[in-house]
């Protein structure tokens, strides 16, 4: 494929067996995504979106097919190598936030860098900066349970960006939020993507949101039903403008 593709998936198949019943959730899916681009994945519920991004992020092993992420065939990596790969190249934002309940907002954001062994002072500084960027400078020492859903998701986004990932997967990041908060989160994602040049893979039900991306992949029953590139998107335009980050 193209040399500037960051993620390329070929003939990806995933099956689950429950009891003696075999369920094919992804069936021979292939596509590749350009560095720095924004791509959305849409499709009806149960079509395999979460399964797909989970596989791409290396959270699971496929039954068949290859995933090449950042020129690395992640199917060949073992669990710990994949963990390291995730830590260095991948960010993930979940529909259900997935913050560690016993860590404060600040500590949650710090984890990826701490895992890398970065110095405590610089990690804390960076985490504080990121939390400020997502508008939570006054909630640094709150526990997840003390934050609203939108605030938790913003912490999760700050955490996803702290390791400056090459690619960020977001699985319905606004699914649990009201429209207005959802919009803020979306803006945040786009903004960070723009500022840092991160590739964004966004799973969503929201077609308006999907259409803001320059590419939309639609899944149906585990196969790619539609794969469209729309160059004339808000995202593509805004990237050309190169606006300075605003808070």
């Amino acid at each position: 494929m193209e040399s500037n593709s960051i993620l390329s998936v070929s003939s990806l198949t995933q099956t689950f067996t429950t009891g003696d019943h075999k369920l094919t959730v992804l069936d021979d899916v292939s596509f590749s995504i350009e560095k720095g681009s924004m791509c959305s994945i849409v499709g009806p519920s149960g079509s395999g979106k979460t399964t797909l991004v989970g596989l791409c992020a290396g959270l699971d092993r496929p039954a068949k097919g290859t995933i090449i992420l950042n020129d690395i065939n992640i199917g060949k990596l073992n669990e710990d190598e994949r963990a390291k790969m995730r830590n260095q190249h991948v960010g993930f934002v979940f529909q259900t936030f997935q913050l560690v309940p016993t860590l404060t907002a600040l500590e949650n954001v710090m984890v990826p860098l701490e895992l890398r062994g970065s110095s405590a002072a610089s990690t804390q500084l960076k985490a504080t900066e990121l939390l400020a960027k997502v508008g939570l400078s006054d909630r640094l020492h709150h526990y997840p349970a003390q934050l609203s859903g939108g605030e938790q998701q913003r912490v999760a986004i700050a955490r996803a960006f702290i390791n400056e990932p090459d690619i960020l997967f977001a699985d319905e990041p606004t699914g649990n939020l009201d429209a207005e908060t959802g919009a803020t989160i979306e803006d945040l994602l786009f903004e960070l993507n723009r500022d840092l040049g991160t590739t964004l893979v966004l799973v969503t039900h929201d077609l308006t949101l999907a259409n803001k991306c320059e590419r939309v992949i639609e899944l149906k029953k585990g196969s790619i039903y539609r794969d469209e590139v729309t160059t004339d998107t808000v995202a593509a335009k805004s990237r050309e403008q190169v606006t300075p980050p605003n808070q």
């Binding site: 963990a83 995730r86 997935q98 016993t102 984890v111 349970a145």
Partner: protein, 845 residues
Amino acid sequence: MNSFFSSWTWKMAWRDARSNKGRLFIYISAIILGVAAQVAITSFRENIDHTVNSQAKELLGADLEVETNEPYTDQTLAFFDSLGGQQSSVVEFASMAYFPKTGSTRLSNIRALEGGFPFYGELLTQPKNAVEKLRTGNQALVDQTLMTQFNIRIGDSVKIGNVILPIGGAIEKVPGEAAAVSLIGPRIFIPQRLVDSTNLIQPGSRVEYKTYFKFEAGRNMAAVEASLEADHDQRLRYDTVEERKEEIGEAVANLSKFLNLIGFVALLLGGIGVASAIHVYIKRKVDTAAILRCLGSSARQAMNIFLVQALVLGFIGALCGTLLGLGVQFMLPGLFNEFLPVQVDIGISWFAIGLGFLTGTGVSFIFALLPLLTLSKASPLYTLRTFDDSITSLLSTKTKGIIYLLIAITIAGYAVLLTSDWQVGLFFTAGIIIAFGLLLGVARMLMMLIRRFFPTSWPYVWRQGLANLYRPNNQTTALMVSLGLGVLLISTLYFSQNMLMNELQFASREDAPNLIFYDIQPDQNDGVNSIIKRNGARVIQNVPMVTMRIDSLNGVSADSIRNDSTRDVSGWALRREYRSTYRDTLLDSETLLEGEWVGRAPDTGAVPISLAQEIAEDLSAGIGDTLTFDVQGIPVKTYVGSIREVDFQRVQPNFFVLFPSGVLEPAPQIFVTVTRAIDRNQSVQIQQDVVQSYPNISAIDVRLILSTIQSFIDKISFAIEFMALFSIITGLIVLASSVIVSRFQRIRESVLLRTLGASKRQILIITGVEYLFLGLLSALTGLFLSIITAWALSYFYFDISFIPNLWVIVLLTLGLTGLTLLIGLFSSRDIYKKTPLEILRLEGT
């Protein structure tokens, strides 16, 4: 393991623990008491060992003690002279002591002393050095307990045999003897020169002649022992300091072995508590581990965070336990003082402390291992799809098998270490494993049965509570196993104690004899019987007794059988002095097992005798085997005509060897008379009258003995109960923590129900029903198992009958169920007091 030491792991462990502090403490509180018990007992034992070692010579009061049952022969006396050193002798026998001032009598242990015994240590008396009065004047020293009991003062007199002498002092402590000795036979010291005038030593009397030696330093004790082993015309038994030390060491080892096992039970219960608590805790951490793995931590790193927590917690638990144990050890000597021959110096035992830390940390580690390992299997995928299965399903059967094996090996190893006995240790472990398996089986079966025969017609809240027993996230197995095992251990302890106590009630039966006179000379027999009758009591039995020894068995002399190690004959049975009787009928306490009972001896030939089953076994003698007895110098040829079972529990003279009439009548004999006094006054009056007329006759007041035994058992069981208390409290902590921990499983649900409009009462009933069933079922299962265990103990070990006390069962069941219910409801009280939202936020952290 390298990530274990990374500062991030420790930092994360701390951050995560920070908001869980209280909850985490519950997890380890269970092991604190177990560790405390171990530390207390181990250091107590170390202290005793240390004391015994440092006071070794005081244990014997001399370097050597030589003992015979007959007066010394000239050859023996010459031998003693050749041994040299300082010598001191004691003539020891049992006799009635009579206190004229109060008219009280008591069978006592008379010790006629001559010379400087004790050479080491001190005979503690009130006033000090009263022992000098024995040497210089004709005065007696009487056991303090006896004086207190009869309200006797120094200066009052005591009559022993035909001698009356003033009491010069009270005995507080005799070197090497436990205080409890005075309960069995109060000690009275008299000057040896007065023995003859007491006129108490007569044919058939049991007397011990002891000589104590003090040698110059550096004396070759091996040579002395060798010369004692050499042939003498009299059997000389001896005891050296080393031997005495060993004996005491063994006794102490046995005591601590027993206490240790009781303590170990507490530790095990604690371990189970830790396991079930950590299990639930870890289950809540699977999500966290999955998130961390998503963010790029390795499986090991994620697990290590919680491993660090488990280890640190175990360490803190061990620390608390060790400190508590060090405190408790100060109480132990108080509990056992009366049974110990030494005054224990309490010191810090580093060994005990080390052991406490090791066990505390080790137990919490081992029992936390299984849930911990599951964390390393927490897939990052669980961030996408919540994990809601049993966490152990994450581990392969092989891994689980290895961990269970590891736990079993640890338990077995520890039990063996504590008891220093392979068999006991393995037996104990096997028992625990079987119980564990049974409880697990019962729990599974219950869940299956409830599901199968679900009472669909019950009201909703009851159905909901009942269904909680088998629905996902149920605590049934964990609670059943930990509660059930706790009930099992505690009630087995209780049943055993109850069973032993019951066994002692034999003599309080209405018509049971309760006063026994022995050492009655033939010319005194009629006199004693008439005194009894004159006092309005009945002579229940009046039995002649002839002392004899075994000369040969099937033609082989007793000595050569003893020296023949290939023969399976008990040396004790060969050596002992037999006190046999003769009569022409069997009593109703005797049952013929084998052979034929002959009531009258044939005029010529060997005499057909009857052996009690026990002694026949010890002698490996069967029907037809010949035995020659040495009846005070005259050989009497006999053969085993019959073997009978004797009920030795009856209060009456029982005999190993029973002769038919027509043989022993002319032999020197003494009589034993058994009677029953209606009350204490009558008993005292008869004893007084008999002792006044015949000072040599001894009386056994069964009532007194029983109350002595009772107080003995009371003291011992108090000590045991004290140790068992550790198990009981641990059991309660485990109960509480299991329930509190399980609350985390249920609270979300209750809140949801509450949000959906359930009333406080409904939630209360649902929660109550669940805990009611859990408590009831585990109490019943545990009790059922403990009845089986107690029965097995009674049948195989104590050899007594066991009838479970229904009251105990009912009370234990009610108590435990009530307690479970109470703790369950109490720990769920937040649900009613706080708003659902508050709780959800609280529980989120």
